[in-house]
């Protein structure tokens, strides 16, 4: 409540006051200089190198995935270049026991959380083995229904809370996803239950062709969290250190029982929306593309690490070679995976310890015979 004599803000001024507060949080600028010393997480040299290694590796994975797709050897693929800091530096702040609910573009995070690369390729190839997450890997298959993961994350977080776990549920969507009802319901539910969730919106400026300005009148997506009572932050999504710190702090609050956080990371996807016929020249200019490329997370982190004597071309090439090698091996595994059969699909419809419904059983026998020919 405002003090009796304090000048009360009208509704317009209140909005302005809130929006002005949402400045972009940055630690490492485009030139690779620390501009916010107080916030520097002071990662160890090994940690800095490991984060760089993951970003370089993932950039190569993206390039290889795109070319495999063009050769008709991959299938569904949503490019990730430009989002490495948002994806991998946020993931870098997590623990192995934290549970990730990714969107379709968030495959890198779940790979670094433990999903074997071959399975990521099988997911792309439309094989359910890609979604058979190993038991010790705490992730849900990438969500296709935009926004659904937000309210589900509230559920996972509530479950962790009930079990007294010191872990968090982390979920990702895009600028477009933040328009879905599930987005608002998710942050509101988690807020209402004070659950240990972290909601990350990677604002890469477009939802397919639809520019961010058409999604909402709100100046930032981060400020949407305020309405649900969540600590909320707008972060330079091309700055690995800022993304790391925002996520680390959100995690700390969450495990300390202080509830969920909303993080908006400002970033860009250099590639098309997916490899299925999207043509970005219909909705973006090459000027905008190159403006964002100047902010590239790999470039600035490389500069930063090189200045510290932690990174050089040799190291970079090592990572590139390793990535290429592992991708090749993973593709071999994916190639060797038996083609998916319709009877396989029938077997995963219901609890295998119960009797198949009569209709399915009949169809199962039929397909068994078809497949044996």
């Amino acid at each position: 409540m405002a003090a009796k004599n304090a000048k009360q803000l009208g509704p317009v001024e209140t909005l302005q006051a809130i929006e002005e507060k949402f400045e972009m949080f940055q630690i490492l600028n485009e030139e690779g200089e620390i501009v916010n010393k107080d916030a520097d997480p002071n990662l160890t040299d090994e940690e800095l190198v490991e984060l760089m290694r993951r970003m370089v590796y993932t950039r190569i994975l993206d390039q290889r995935s795109i070319s495999l797709n063009r050769q008709g050897r991959l299938g569904f693929y949503a490019p990730t270049a430009g989002q490495e800091a948002s994806q991998l530096a946020s993931h870098f702040a997590l623990e192995k026991e934290d549970f990730i609910l990714p969107g379709y573009r968030d495959v890198p995070q779940i790979i670094w959380h433990g999903l074997p690369l071959a399975q990521a390729f099988l997911f792309s190839r439309g094989h359910f083995a890609g979604n058979q997450i190993p038991e010790n890997v705490k992730v849900f298959p990438p969500q296709i229904i935009i926004g659904a993961q937000f309210i589900q994350a509230a559920g996972v977080a509530l479950g962790m809370q009930k079990r007294g776990k010191k872990t968090v549920a982390v979920t990702y969507t895009g600028d477009g996803g933040s328009s879905q009802g599930d987005f608002y319901e998710g942050i509101n539910f988690a807020g209402a239950f004070r659950s240990p969730a972290i909601f990350i919106v990677q604002n890469n400026q477009y939802a397919i062709s639809t520019p961010r300005e058409l999604q909402t009148a709100a100046k930032t997506i981060a400020q949407k969290g305020i309405a649900a009572g969540l600590p909320s932050i707008l972060v330079d999504g091309m700055d690995p250190l800022a993304v790391y710190v925002a996520t680390r702090d959100a995690r700390e609050r969450a495990v300390n029982g202080e509830g969920p956080t909303l993080i908006e990371t400002l970033c860009y996807r250099y590639g098309p929306h997916t490899m299925a016929g999207d043509d970005p020249t219909r909705y973006r200019t090459s000027e905008t593309d190159s403006e964002w490329e100047k902010k590239d997370p790999l470039v600035r982190f490389r500069t930063y690490l090189e200045a510290k004597g932690l990174w050089n071309e040799e190291k970079e090439n090592e990572v590139i070679e390793q990535a290429k090698e592992e991708i090749k091996e993973a593709i071999k595994i994916a190639d060797a995976t038996p083609k998916q059969k319709v009877t396989d699909l029938m077997e995963i419809m219901y609890d295998p310890n119960t009797e198949m419904p009569y209709n399915l059983k009949e169809q199962y026998e039929l397909y068994k015979e078809k497949e044996s020919k």
């Binding site: 569904f76 439309g126 296709i144 009802g181 397919i208 062709s209 029938m346 397909y367």
Partner: protein, 325 residues
């Protein structure tokens, strides 16, 4: 006359109605500048302006609710749901609201809304995009459900749907979008909703199908003709309400019927067609009416899609069972 694909015929119908009626509004995700992810609305925003053809924020429930509200304001909304697999997000607007507007208001309000949406398998989309969910909406009183199988029909049916004063769900099979061209008149024409088309006449068996299964049924009929069976093929075109007179007249003539749907056995509308035939023409039947359908699993991951989807071979096999009963 121009040779158009189905997607071009759909754009043509939208353009025709945007021109004819200033209350027609086209909106949805990426339908404006981008012309839709399948390009169904290509060029329309340029031609008619952002006032008439516009992008919405990303929320299907929002798109449905907007259609309800715009109807109340006297508009004739033609929203797009980018893929019908996402229809669950907007089911309350469709079944809970649009389908009941006339009813709930005792006839005072109505919803002249046409929801267009791509559906159906065979084009290797990611998960959850390609389901055949027509049965879901066909089961809801208050809705009409239209599924064209050719460019010519698509134009005439879409114009009728837009002019209809009640909500219509207009489902466009993705595989048909660019699979073939046919002559489509430049001028406007309508094909009445609720009227099936006899695609091929025959005397031994009636095959009833819709959507992409019409072509498979035509292929099957040709196969069967080689074995001297004369097969009639009916394209339902509207799956709710059904064209009972056309179906029953044909079955009374042939005495045998097969109903084909791409949806799973427990989904789709074939069960309803079989029930109608049994109720109305049982004494004309020489054999049980059988169905061709997809297995009762969730729509498959793309790798198994081709095997999972019913095709002309399945239709021939089932037809033979009925023919030799």
């Amino acid at each position: 006359m121009a040779q158009l694909t189905m997607i071009q015929a759909i754009t043509d119908a939208l353009r025709t109605e945007l021109k004819n009626d200033e209350n027609v509004l086209v909106f949805g995700e990426d339908v404006g500048n981008n012309g839709g992810v399948f390009r169904a609305t290509e060029g329309l925003q340029k031609e008619f302006g952002e006032d008439r053809v516009f992008d919405t924020p990303l929320a299907e429930s929002g798109i449905g609710g907007l259609a309800v509200g715009l109807s109340l304001e006297g508009f004739r909304p033609v929203p797009e749901i980018q893929f019908f697999g996402f229809v669950y997000e907007v089911m309350d607007s469709i079944s809970g609201q649009l389908a009941r507007m006339r009813f709930r208001s005792g006839g005072v309000y109505n919803a002249p809304v046409t929801i267009r949406s791509p559906f159906g398998g065979g084009v290797h989309t990611p998960e959850m995009h390609a389901d055949s969910l027509e049965g879901l909406v066909a089961s809801q009183p208050g809705l009409k459900v239209v599924i064209p199988s050719s460019p010519y029909d698509a134009k005439g049916l879409l114009i009728s749907a837009i002019r209809d004063n009640d909500p219509v769900i207009f489902l466009e099979h993705m595989k048909l979008y660019r699979s073939f061209r046919e002559e489509v008149p430049e001028e406007e024409y309508t094909i009445p909703l609720g009227k099936a088309a006899v695609k091929r006449e025959g005397t031994d068996l009636t095959i009833i199908a819709y959507g992409a299964m019409v072509q498979e049924s035509m292929k099957a009929a040709e196969e069967l003709e080689k074995e001297n069976y004369s097969v009639e093929v009916i394209d339902l075109r509207t799956v709710q309400p059904l064209d009972i007179p056309t179906i029953i007249a044909s079955v009374e003539k042939t005495g045998r019927a097969v109903v084909v749907q791409e949806a799973q056995k427990q989904a789709g509308v074939a069960a309803n067609v079989v029930a109608e035939i049994n109720e109305r023409a049982i004494l004309s039947l020489e054999a049980p009416v059988l169905r061709v359908f997809a297995p009762d699993t969730v729509f498959p991951f793309s790798q198994a899609e081709t095997v999972w989807l019913p095709n002309s071979k399945d239709i021939v096999a089932t037809a033979k069972k009925v023919l030799t009963f």
